[in-house]
Symmetry: C2
Subunit: 559 residues, 2 copies
């Protein structure tokens, strides 16, 4: 029996086309494609501007059931569906998030799909890629340096050094930087104060870049960032520090979407990667909007399960960018559904239709939820070899009871060929034009009512519990003019509830809000329920210890 | 009268050729040129390897008198001479350092030449360029994170947390990060300890990258880095932390030289930019060696004045890389020489041959010094409009007394046309083959004797003063096997002495050594005389406040 090839082996055997050729296929003139090597390119913003009057293609969201240790394969399915659509003769492209560099050296694998449904060049995409995250790190930390510099030179704005809200970032898993005291060492180094670092993907600049629709919008949003507060608790903005212009100079190239290709030589945008908890967790608006001008079908994904990812995609990204999705694909695996039904990780290889049926409640609730946004649904069963026919059939039958078709997809093993049936159905759903997209809450209701609506309609919580201080803070922000902002929920991705162990479709729970944060530049309110880690650490044996170059100069140990 | 155009205006009017065409002119196959946009590219290491058997071109060093606030124009002269050589029909290229991003937001202008002697695209070169410095930042900080992670998970190596020598880096002027306490916030964040950040150009990784001759050499050197000490004071190396493999993966692209062009469309490598005080201050060995294979004449520069820059270029870079320079150009300006003669900055526009003659002692001593390395010399008088004919003639006459020809060079205003006479002479000097390059000290003498030799022969100090602890440290390193390392002097660039106010050619001074540091990966011993700043701060009104994009998307305020 043949050995199963690793993702990196498959990626290396890929026959990539020159990126200029991929761009040509989309009709992009050579001068408007800015190459980064022979297989990556950025698309000039001026060219994207010139497409404004073109008709939009159809937008298809790929989301998933609540993640489990068994894996779902959302990115893999997104890539596979894109390839499937192209195989059946549609002009399709995918739009994905950029992976973060830091976690590659911990224990996370790559984030460019898997098996025969990958985007390439996968090593580059997972490492420095086109430098977007480095640019975000630079821009973020320039603002940080300018804040402490302002304080150092006399603090004309009267910033309360105990209330500096703007931290620093690094694209590295470095727990030692989570909480620091800076400006030590004497007069020449400033006024000692508590500070800290987040990982770059948690930067508000990342969220801003991903929601910006132009350079002007980027600069406007950066100017709005609240960097801290004065003694009288009034906010100090990034524009008060006079930082936005220079930050935009650092970010101007990063705002251009990155073009790469799938293993089947279909075009893919990979651009932006905001955290899916304290931010909205989807690729850039620039990339999605550009893709919609260049292709008839655009397949994109959102972070975590549909309770977090799809909700934010709809309520934040689509609402704010005026996007109108035509169809949603919910990815599920037999293995993960069995875990939702109560199976342990080591029991997943054994057929167990009963436990699977129990776990289907999780999928069912996501189907019901997505319907509330007015978007038609298909289910992709991302196939693993241990899945039995009876199990797959049980999923298909269950979905039928919800009026939804489910498809066994074998893109991991077969590429686009493995999603042809799904692709045909999704294209039909999209072409039918039955979608009547609407966000789940109105922007004009109170901030707390927005949280309540999400909790009730999506999480099925009985109530939302928040301290008076939290509710007062929300009211204060409404008074300050932030009341129309959407909500960005930060809670565990493993359950509809805030308890990660409550799998399936839990009821009789309440949503406790621990903290709220204002992302005035990203233009949303972060509502935190539970512990949120914004700077990961490395594990005891980080994969960095085994990563290296072999004799041929090829990377080993990375994936 | 026409307004004088700014550097950025001239650069924007440049008619750049596609970088593929520039590469073609050098004979580089398209597949071995990795484009970063249409006007920047990296050269594949495999292609560079394939050139090994080719004959080397002639190497020409551009150095200068001790810098003054009047400016000398070393980079400008390097670019101008490269263009001049091409104009007189020689196949020449230049090899320069990459500028650091952080200081652009303080008050430093760009570092890509000036006037009509520039390298382009200058804005890109001064900002993210091809991402080399970001890669160095990542690799450096990965090692830092792995060190604290090792301590966090039990500290098997027994690192003394008070003696961690490896700091973190950021490419930003951020004084608040100079001295910090990290790992605060409780058990999950590690063991609090003192730490700090340097600017990326001060990273030992930068020095290592610039001295490495291959990927293997890079990994070997990284492995040798001393990251700290155990309780028994024995060293802990980067290879003990198992970091080198992953760091090399982050640095593999950064090791490839960057190809750009001059305003006159001549090829230029711009690669690597180590500090000129705690490191050796010249562009990468990879770039210089590659250029020598691709061109008949390679013009390169070294940091600061010849006492620091040329000495390190000869004693560290040339010695270690087996380079044999054929000629040296010492850049001087009438204005700066007058300052060395005692003129104040506001007196420079008035003719004053007497004070100029006094200041020529500074130039004279540099000429004598460079002769000791066995390399023939020419002097470039970088012309300013306020220079009078009598002043220029005084410089020419003075140089004749040293057996050296000096040339009035007008490359700032005229490009390569302004250095034709210099170019002809330098080509003759190089072609004559009279150079008999030798370092100033033998690698086998004791470390302290090396310092003494530099102090005596180059600085003309009467003696070297160092505490017993410093001398003991040097002996300890000799015993540990580091005795053959060259010395990397870190002292003020403004004087031959350690007193920045002693201009001209001071005598009767001693060299006080304050501290010595081991750069075991870069393979040199840093000898520090005076205050050395490895993390700059921003000024009261940083240029970041006025930097931005105009309505056309062009950068304003940067230069």
């Amino acid at each position: 029996m043949a050995t199963v090839k690793s993702d990196i082996e498959i990626a290396r055997e890929a026959k990539m086309k020159p990126i200029m050729e991929i761009g040509k296929g989309l009709g992009i003139p050579e001068k408007d494609l800015i190459p980064y090597g022979h297989t990556k390119a950025k698309v000039a913003l001026s060219y994207i501007d010139s497409l404004k009057s073109k008709k939009n293609g159809k937008l298809i969201l790929v989301t998933a059931i609540n993640p489990t240790p068994a894996g779902e394969g959302k990115t893999t399915t997104t890539v596979g569906l894109g390839d499937g659509l192209n195989r059946i003769g549609k002009k399709a492209m995918v739009a994905l998030r950029e992976p973060s560099l830091g976690p590659c050296f911990g224990m996370k694998g790559g984030a460019a799909g898997g098996g025969y449904a990958q985007i390439v060049p996968m090593e580059d995409i997972n490492l420095h890629f086109t430098g977007d995250f480095h640019a975000i790190t630079s821009a973020h930390n320039l603002l940080s340096a300018m804040i402490d510099n302002h304080i150092y030179w006399g603090n004309e704005l009267g910033i309360d050094t105990r209330r500096v809200a703007w931290r620093r970032v690094m694209d590295m898993n470095d727990r030692a930087l989570r909480e620091i005291v800076c400006s030590l060492g004497g007069v020449a180094n400033g006024y000692p104060r508590e500070a800290g670092f987040d990982i770059t993907v948690a930067s508000e600049i990342m969220a801003i870049l991903c929601l910006s629709t132009s350079i002007e919008d980027l600069e406007r949003r950066i100017g709005q960032i609240v960097i801290g507060y004065k003694k009288d608790k009034s906010p100090v903005l990034a524009k008060d520090i006079k930082a936005p212009g220079a930050m935009v100079v650092l970010l101007k190239d990063a705002l251009q979407p990155n073009l790469v290709q799938t293993l089947e030589n279909n075009p893919a945008f990979v651009h932006g990667g905001p955290f899916a908890n304290i931010a909205h967790g989807c690729n850039s608006v620039m990339a999605t909007q550009s893709a919609l001008k260049l292709a008839d079908y655009v397949v994109t994904e959102a972070g975590f399960g549909a309770d977090l990812g799809a909700e934010k995609f709809f309520d934040i990204k689509c609402r704010k960018a005026g996007l109108s999705p035509s169809a949603t694909v919910i990815v599920a695996t037999v293995r993960a559904l069995k875990m939702h039904g109560g199976a342990a990780k080591d029991e997943l290889k054994t057929e167990n239709v009963e436990v699977l049926k129990k776990g289907l409640a999780n999928l069912g609730r996501h189907i019901e939820n997505v319907k509330k946004f007015g978007v038609p649904i298909a289910v992709a069963i991302n196939h693993f070899i241990s899945d039995t026919d009876a199990e797959v059939q049980a999923v298909i039958d269950y979905c039928k009871t919800h009026g939804v078709e489910a498809f066994r997809c074998t893109h991991w093993a077969e590429g686009g060929k493995g999603t042809e049936a799904l692709a045909k159905h999704v294209a039909e759903l999209a072409d039918k034009g039955s979608a009547q997209f609407k966000p789940i809450y109105d922007e004009n209701v109170s901030l707390f009512d927005k949280v309540k609506t999400i909790a009730r309609e999506i999480y099925r919580a009985d109530d939302v519990v928040a301290d008076k201080s939290v509710r007062d803070q929300l009211k204060a922000w409404e008074a300050a003019g932030y009341g129309k902002f959407p909500i960005c929920m930060a809670k565990t991705q493993y359950s509809f509830s805030t308890d990660p162990n409550l799998k399936g479709a839990p009821t009789n729970h309440v949503l406790p809000v621990r903290e709220v944060r204002l992302s005035a530049g990203a233009e949303f309110i972060v509502v935190i329920c539970g512990d949120i880690m914004t700077m990961p650490g490395l594990p005891k044996v980080p994969s960095a210890e085994v990563i290296g170059l072999d004799d041929k100069g090829q990377i080993v140990g990375l994936f």
